[in-house]
Symmetry: C2
Subunit: 289 residues, 2 copies
C-alpha cells in the first residue's frame, strides 16, 4: 500500500494506472475509519483494479464554530485498517495542498444543499461538492462509493456528478449499524456513556415510521413525524433539528408516503453531539442502495 | 471531421482516444467563427494529436434580456472553417443535452467573477465556469486554448482549473485584430457601418495607455484612465461601462502601473452593442500570452 501526499503525485499515478488499462475505485473519507467506512471500502474493492481511499478532514465543509479541531483523527490506525482491507493507495493531502493561497472556486448544487441539514449547516454541502469535485479530478476514479448514512450528501453528489458530467459511477452503500441500531459515525466517539445508551432511539423512530407507512392505514407525513418526535423525546433529552419525509431523489417533501419511494431523514443533538440518520422506504428501495 | 451531438458519444470517443495514447486539444466556442477563433484553433492544432472544437451558445452565461436569441449563428460556415483548419471533431450539443431537466449545479470563482465585467453581468462568469467544467469532463482535453480578448474569462478559467485540479493545461492566445485595431468579436456583426468606423477608438485608447505607462513619467492609474476616457468619448457616442488597470493575475486594482504586469481592460456600449477590449503591459507580458 502506498501513501500519497501531493496532488501532482496522485494525478500522475492515476494517469499512469489508467493508461495501463486499470479501473480505479475510490472511497473519500475524513479518516477515523469505522465499520461503516470499511463496508464502503469492501464494496469498492470488488468493483475495481486499483482502490484509492482519501483521508482528508475538509475544512470547507465545517462552519466556524463547528467541530473541525476536535474531529477525531488516528492516521496510524486508519493505515492499518486500509492495509488489511486491500487498499492500494491512501491519498492523504495537507490543507496547503488542497487549498493553496489564492484559492477561490466553489461547486454548489442549488436547492438540494439548502434544505434538511443545509438549513442549520448552510455552507456544508458546497464544501462537500467542492472537495469531491477536486478529488474526482485528482484521483480520476471510474467508480466512487458513498454511504447511505449521509443520505442528503449522496443525493447531492449524484446530482453534481450527473450535472457536471464527471465520468464517474456513483455507488451508494447501505448504512452500517451497531447491534442496537445506532448508525456508525465518527461522531459517536463524542457521546458520553449515558448518551450512547439512549442514542439508538433515533433509529427506533425510523423503524416506527417504516412500520406506519407499511401498515396500509394511509398515515400522512405529519402523523408519522408527530409519532417519531414523541418516541425520540420520550427516550431522552434530544434537541431535534429536523425530521422530514421527502422524495428519495428530489428531496421534495412528500405528504402521503404510502406507495412512494421516500427518504425519512432526521438530525438531532444529544448533548453537544449532532447525530443524523435515515432510512429509505418504498418499492424501489434497492435503487438507492 | 466528425460531428458529435451527445455527451455520451463525446465522452466515449475521448476515453478511447486517450486509451490509444492520443493527446486531446480543445477550443470551446459559441460558433460564428472568425479569425480570432481560427487563431486559437491553429494554436491548439500544433499542440495535440486530436483537436476538438465545441460550438455551443451557452444559455447560463447570458442574463435575461441579454442577446442570446440574436447571438449570430452559422453552423454550416463553422463546419467548413473547422474542416479547413484540420479540426478532428466538432462537439455540437443541444441545450437538452447540456442542461437536462433537474439540472442544479453551479461552479463559481468568487471575487474574480464579481469585478470588471462581473459588475454589469453578475451571473455571466458562473455560467462560463460551469459550462467549461462540464466541457472539460466531456471532452477530457490535455490542453485547452482561450483568447486573451476575454482577459477576465482567461484569468477566471486559469483559477478554476487550478483550484478544482482539472488535469488540463490552459493556453491563452493573443487577441486578433482587424487592420484598424478593432478586436475581432462575433458581436462586431451587430455594429452599423458608422459604429464600425468609430469602434477602433477603444483599442487606440489602450495603446495610449501603454504609451503613457512606458513613457517613464510615472503616470498613475487615475491619470491614465482619465486620458483614455477622454479619447474614447471624443471619438464617438460610447457609453463606457468601465476602464480599469488591474494586476494581470489577481485582477486587483493597481494605482501605479509603471514596471508592473498590468491588465488594462475596458467595456463600452456603442449603440446596442457591448464591446470589450484589453491589453497587457509589463515586463513578463509574454507569460499571459
Amino acid at each position: 500500500m502506498k501513501i500519497i501526499r501531493t496532488v501532482t503525485e496522485m494525478q500522475n499515478t492515476s494517469l499512469k494506472l489508467k493508461r495501463d488499462g486499470n479501473t480505479i475505485g475510490f472511497v473519500p473519507t475524513m479518516g477515523f475509519l469505522h465499520e461503516g467506512h470499511l463496508s464502503l471500502i469492501r464494496r469498492a474493492r470488488g468493483e475495481c483494479d486499483i482502490l484509492v481511499v482519501s483521508i482528508y478532514v475538509n475544512p470547507t465543509q465545517f462552519a466556524p464554530g463547528e467541530d473541525i479541531d476536535k474531529y477525531p483523527r488516528d492516521i496510524d490506525r486508519d493505515e492499518r485498517l486500509c492495509e488489511e482491507e486491500g487498499v492500494d493507495i491512501i491519498f492523504y493531502p495537507t490543507d496547503e495542498e488542497m487549498y493553496p493561497e489564492g484559492y477561490l472556486t466553489e461547486v454548489r448544487v442549488k436547492r438540494l444543499g439548502e434544505i434538511l441539514c443545509g438549513v442549520s449547516r448552510p455552507t456544508h454541502f458546497a464544501g462537500v461538492t467542492t472537495i469531491v469535485s477536486k478529488l474526482f479530478n485528482i484521483v480520476m476514479p471510474d467508480i466512487a462509493v458513498f454511504g447511505q448514512k449521509d443520505a442528503q450528501q449522496a443525493v447531492i453528489i449524484r446530482r453534481m456528478t450527473l450535472d457536471l458530467n464527471f465520468p464517474v459511477k456513483i455507488i451508494v452503500s447501505p448504512t452500517v449499524r451497531e447491534s442496537d441500531g445506532l448508525a456508525m459515525s465518527s461522531r459517536n466517539a463524542y457521546l458520553s456513556e449515558k448518551e450512547r445508551e439512549i442514542a439508538p432511539a433515533l433509529y427506533r423512530s425510523l423503524c416506527l415510521a417504516e412500520k406506519m407507512i407499511k401498515s396500509g392505514k394511509g398515515y400522512d407525513a405529519i402523523e408519522i413525524i408527530v409519532k417519531m418526535r414523541k418516541s425520540i423525546l420520550t427516550a431522552g433529552p434530544f434537541d431535534i433539528d429536523y425530521i422530514e419525509i421527502v422524495d428519495a431523489e428530489t428531496l421534495e417533501p412528500v405528504e402521503n408516503p404510502a406507495g412512494k419511494d421516500v427518504l425519512i431523514a432526521l438530525a438531532a443533538r444529544l448533548g453537544k453531539t449532532r447525530l443524523i440518520d435515515n432510512i429509505i422506504v418504498g418499492k424501489s428501495k434497492s435503487k438507492l442502495k
